[in-house]
Each structure stands twice: as structure tokens, then as C-alpha cells.
Symmetry: none
Subunit: 209 residues, 4 copies
């Protein structure tokens, strides 16, 4: 009892897909999530509405894929061509505090980049309400990035820079989540100073030593 017989993905138009990604991202950036409609995306992409409905189940779904694609493209642009794409990882200079601060500063830059802001916010908002979407968002985008912190913290445990009884998956939240919340809910300003402070507090604790 299949649902309408699934479309044949081998015959999918690559051109349309690209046009839809571009239209979706630009419309969300210009008009906001609510005002970016499926009809609007289709019109700007020069595509029939059905072509969107054929391949995606909702506006959020389109935007999620468009955003994942955007990330991928950005990553490929950075990668040295003709070289195997080594795994991304947080640099390990031996100075944990410095390494974390560097990565967080880069994150600050990205969060403030207007190209990324509108679609990310839109996805985050949709995700808060739509559990299925979040699941995919977290699995494909968020968790992989958080695992990079897990790796760095584990390596720090081996060198003794972090206590061995610490759970790295929880530990990373001490400096990542505050930044995320400030950005998402606008509960406070975001800056290099702020993230540096977070790292210091998290590493050395609030209590006197």
C-alpha cells in the first residue's frame, strides 16, 4: 500500500534541485521564514510547485536540505582540490584552552554571517516545533560537529588537561550551549570575549581552587 508510488530519483532534474535550493535560501534570507512560501520558492526557481512537492514534504524539509547543501558546498570550497578530503577536526596544539577559544571564535563569525543567519534561525525554529525535522537536523548537522569537541576533549584527557572522570559529551555543552542559546533566543550579545570567558569558566570552574 505504497503512498502514490514514489518518484524515480534517477530521472530527477539536477538543475531544478539547484534552482530550488538557491531560491529557498535567498527567499528566506530576504523575507524571513514565514513569508518564504512554497509558491514563492517555485516561482523564483522557475519550477512547478509539483516539482517541490514531489521531492520534499514541507517547506522545512526543503530548507533543511538546502542548508545541508550550503554547508557541503562551503566545505568543498575550503578543501584543497586533488587531495583526499581529510576528516575535519579541531586542531590540537597541545593548548586546550587556546584551541577551544579558536574554534568558538570561528563559530561566532559564522553565526554573525548574514548568509547563514536567516536559514539557520528558520531551521532552528521549525525544529523546535517539528520533532521529525529536528532529528534529521541534529543527526546530520549538529551532532557531527559536537563530536569534534568530544574528540578534542578525549585527547585532552589523555594528556591530563581534562579530568579522566569527565563525560566529554556533557562537558562540551558548558561552552557550546550558552553560545547557542544566546544566539537562538537573543538572551545576550555574542563576542570573542564572551566565548573566551566561557572556555575559562568551564575549564577552571566557578569555585575557587
Amino acid at each position: 500500500m505504497a503512498k502514490k508510488t514514489a518518484p524515480d530519483s534517477t530521472r530527477r532534474s539536477e538543475k531544478s534541485r539547484r534552482a530550488i535550493y538557491d531560491a529557498a535560501l535567498s527567499l528566506v534570507s530576504e523575507a524571513g521564514y514565514q513569508k518564504a512560501t512554497i509558491e514563492g520558492i517555485a516561482a523564483r526557481a522557475g519550477v512547478g510547485k509539483q516539482t517541490i512537492y514531489r521531492w520534499w514534504s514541507s517547506k522545512a524539509d526543503v530548507l533543511l536540505e538546502a542548508f545541508l547543501d550550503l554547508q557541503e558546498q562551503a566545505a568543498e570550497a575550503v578543501a584543497v582540490p586533488g587531495q583526499e578530503p581529510e576528516e575535519y577536526a579541531i586542531p590540537d596544539t597541545g593548548d586546550l584552552a587556546a584551541d577551544l577559544k579558536n574554534v568558538l571564535r570561528a563559530t561566532v563569525d559564522e553565526l554573525l554571517d548574514p548568509k547563514f543567519e536567516a536559514p539557520s534561525r528558520a531551521l532552528a525554529a521549525a525544529g523546535v516545533v517539528d520533532a521529525r525535522l529536528t532529528e534529521e537536523f541534529v543527526a546530520k548537522l549538529l551532532e557531527p560537529q559536537l563530536q569534534l569537541y568530544v574528540q578534542r576533549l578525549k585527547s585532552a584527557q589523555e594528556t591530563g588537561a581534562v579530568r579522566p572522570d569527565i563525560d566529554p559529551r556533557i562537558a562540551l555543552e558548558l561552552f557550546v550551549s550558552p553560545l547557542a542559546q544566546r544566539w537562538l533566543q537573543r538572551t545576550g550579545p555574542i563576542s570573542y570575549d564572551y566565548t573566551d570567558t566561557l572556555v575559562d569558566y568551564a575549564l577552571h570552574g566557578l569555585a575557587p581552587r
Copy 2:
């Protein structure tokens, strides 16, 4: 030539307001934020649409007030009747870790209470996208609660349980934001164990002492 001649709030129907709050909260809980429409709220409340548009500017606005009202009602129910409502504050037993853990455990309970979950999520989602709404949400609901932590941490600084150079407004985020993010973005499970761990990590730091 006034734009609309503002409505006369002294003649406002209290019964309608209550009915609208109830209808809004129950509809959001049952159907979700997107599917809870103004028309639906008006119909369930037995109220004309204009009565909603007269007093509120958007669905998010209605829901925000309804939620604030819900919080107030819950607070009044707890308060001892016939006694002046003393200021809410985090208890100070002298044991900072224990006090924080207790408060966070209570928060966990509330986050998992189905009566609160749907509307809070809905508001959070709307807030991510609508800056104006967030401002009010943060100012009226979130920040006052966070200030309770600020007070408790300041008091801890006086007793020497927290280093004096620590900024309490940032410090509290170390354990509050991780919990908030896990709930909002469903990046992980929520439990007493989890919040206890957050407090321990935050107070003593990740680095060995």
C-alpha cells in the same frame, strides 16, 4: 484623526479574555502551534475574531500572554493564601551545589510536564523567528528567572563559594543553557543526573585541580 482610536480597556470582557487564554493553550497543546489558528481559537472560545484582533496583535502575542497568565496562576496556586506574596528566590542553605541542583531538578520537572511543554515550545519557536516577541518573552519570563540565579551566585561570592572575579550572568549559563538546549533542540535526554552533573562540572571545572 487617530489611526484606530485605541480600545477602552476598562470595558474589556474578562470572561472573553479567560476563554481566549484557555482556548489558545488547549488548542496549541492538542494541535501544535502551526495548526492552532486565530479562527480556531476564536471559535473554541466562543468569541468573535475581532475580539482577538482588538486586544492582541498576533497569534504569538495571544499565546505569550496566555502563557504568562498560566505561570501566574500556577504561582498563586502554590502561594499560601492570605499572605503577602514574598519575592521568589532560590533558597540559600549555604550549600551552593545542593541549592542549584534542587532548582534545576524542579526545572526538569516543569520541562517534562505535558501541560507546559506544548505552549513553551510554541513560544520558543515563534521567538526564534520573531525578534519582537522574543524580546518580550525574554524580558518578562526568562530574564527574571535567570536573575534569581544571579542573586544566588552573588551571595555565594560573598561566602567565598564562588570566585569573586566571576561574572554571575555568564556563569549561570554554564548549567542553565545546556539544559535549555537539550530541551529545545532535543539534542539529548534530560534527567536529574544530567543536571546534577552540569552543576558539578560548572563549579569545579573540567581541568584537574
Copy 3:
């Protein structure tokens, strides 16, 4: 178990109704029945689609009412104002043949009037396929006109110009239906000569006397 609760016709917008009639008739005349869409009518009338769907059940329904209204307007324009609208009737000069020929010549004029042609054709076509619509079309428009012939033929029977055993309702079809079919199905040209001939044949028969 009412269907969605019927709309309140006392609050209906007369302006919208008129605009819809005008738009429907002009669009059908310009573009033809198939290409005159509900969306197009709504747009030209400056009206929301729902306002059409609220009061009519289909494009054919709109057009039927618009056409009935057109007929009424035309009739009122002819009527002498300030005088009670006497019943329309086929003139009775005593010369049956002449009277019938005159009326049919007037009908020929109307059938060839481009203002009436497009909507009439459209209605006729829709009616062939949609029984419910035809019923109303016949009852409100066609049959009343045919009854005028019945009256004239009965009066002719009294004066002896028509045999008394003739059924007038059937008799009138001898000259009315051929004209109708030629027009509807374009099976032949329409002219005064043609209708005059029909009357002569019908009155005196094909067989020699």
C-alpha cells in the same frame, strides 16, 4: 448535519454579486467557456474566490444566474417605467402565421447578437452534460418562453386557425426546435427566410392538401 452552515444571505454584498455577473459574462464572451476560470472571474470582479464559492457551486451555476440576470435587466429596460409590468405574450393580430414569423425573426436577431451568443452557448453546453443545471435552465428560462407559444396556439385553436386535437406543447417544437438545433449544433444557417419557411411547413404540413 448541515453542510458547513449555510451563509447568511441577508448580509450578502450586492456590489460583489453584480461585479461577478459582469466579469463572468464578459470573460465567457471574450475567452470562451473553458478558458473562463473561476479564478479569472474573481480577479476581474475584484473579489475573493471564496466569495464565489460561498454563493455558487460551480462555474456553470454562476453563469446561469448571470445570464438570468442579464435577461431580467434586458426585460426591465424594455418595460415602460411607471407602468405595471404586463405579462409578456406573443402578439395576437389574428394572423397566426405572421405572428409566429415575427416572434421567430426576433429570436433569430437575439441568437445572432454577440452579447448573448457566448454565454448562451456556454450554458447550453454545460447543460447537456449537467442534468441539475439544465433543470434550472429549462424551468427558469426556456419553458416560460415556450409557454408563450402554447398560449398563442391555444388562442389560435379557439379561432379555428389550428386544429383542436393538436397538442400545442408538441406543436410549437415543429418550428422552435429546428431553429434551436441549427444554432446549437451549427447544422445549418439561420435566417428570416429559414424561420418563415419553418412556420409555413408546420402550419400547412408537408403532404399535399
Copy 4:
């Protein structure tokens, strides 16, 4: 540089053509003209849409050919096999009234046959609106049948049963068109009595002799 390079009819699939005829007729009978779509016909016939568009220009076109084919098949079924198919003609027993009544009774039977009703109505409706289609419909189907009446009336003129100054092409409409209109526009019931009466009135006239 031909417009489309016309399809090579020698390579046409006979099986597909038959399947399309069957699907078209059955769909129109079941669902009506409007709801019988090209996609639906193609699907039921197990045929690609292009195969329909390659050989026909519109739904009406398909249906017209399907109907012509149906007529042919019915005629062949009646014809005595192994004998050359003589020209169809209205029998000439010498009694004009009886001959006409017989043919019209047969027509009544056909009009009431449910197998023919839906497609004929559909074609008639399409024809009212689409002039090009009507032209073909009239030329291929209607006029040839009417010419049979012309022949019979001419023969009657030779025997003196019909006045010599009568135009047979017009005369036949006196009894054929009323029947056609009653059927098309459902302006009245159809029966043997009715058609018999039509013939009598037409032959002997309405006026007393």
C-alpha cells in the same frame, strides 16, 4: 525544418488505439466528460500519455473517433457477414408516415441505450462549445444520417406523398430536431407516441385542411 515531423502512421500500434478507444468510452460513461481526463484514459488503456497526444489533438478528438468507431462496430455487427455491406437507407414501403415512424422509433431506442448515451451527450456538449469539433461531428456523423431522410422525402415527392415545392433538408427538421432537442436539453420525455405525433403533425400540418 518541419514543425514536429509528423508521426509515421504505418508504424502505429493497433492494440494501443483499440485500448484507448475502450478506455475513453468507458471512462466517459462512468465518470462523465469533465472527469474523464487524458491521464485517466492513458492509465486505464495502459498507454503513455504521449501516445495519445501523438495521434489526437484533444480529449474531444479522441472521443469523437472512439464514438465513430463504436458506431461502425455496431453497424458491422448488424450486417449479414459474407455479404457486401449495402448502403444504409430508410426503407421505402410506400407508406411515408409508417416508414418515418419506424426510423424514429429506432432512434428513440438508441438514444435511450445507456451504452450510447454518455458519449453522445459528451460529444454534443463539447460540440456546442468547440466549433471545429462540431464541424467534424456533423460532417461525419449527423449529416450522413440526415441525408437518409432527404432521400426518403425526395422519393416521397416523386410519388406525390410530399408537395414538390418542399425543401426536404428543412422538412426533415420538423420531426428530427424536436426529438434531438428533447434529448439534448431534457425539455421533455421521449417515447414512440411522441415521435409518432411529430410525424403526423409534420405531414398534415397544424392548420385544418
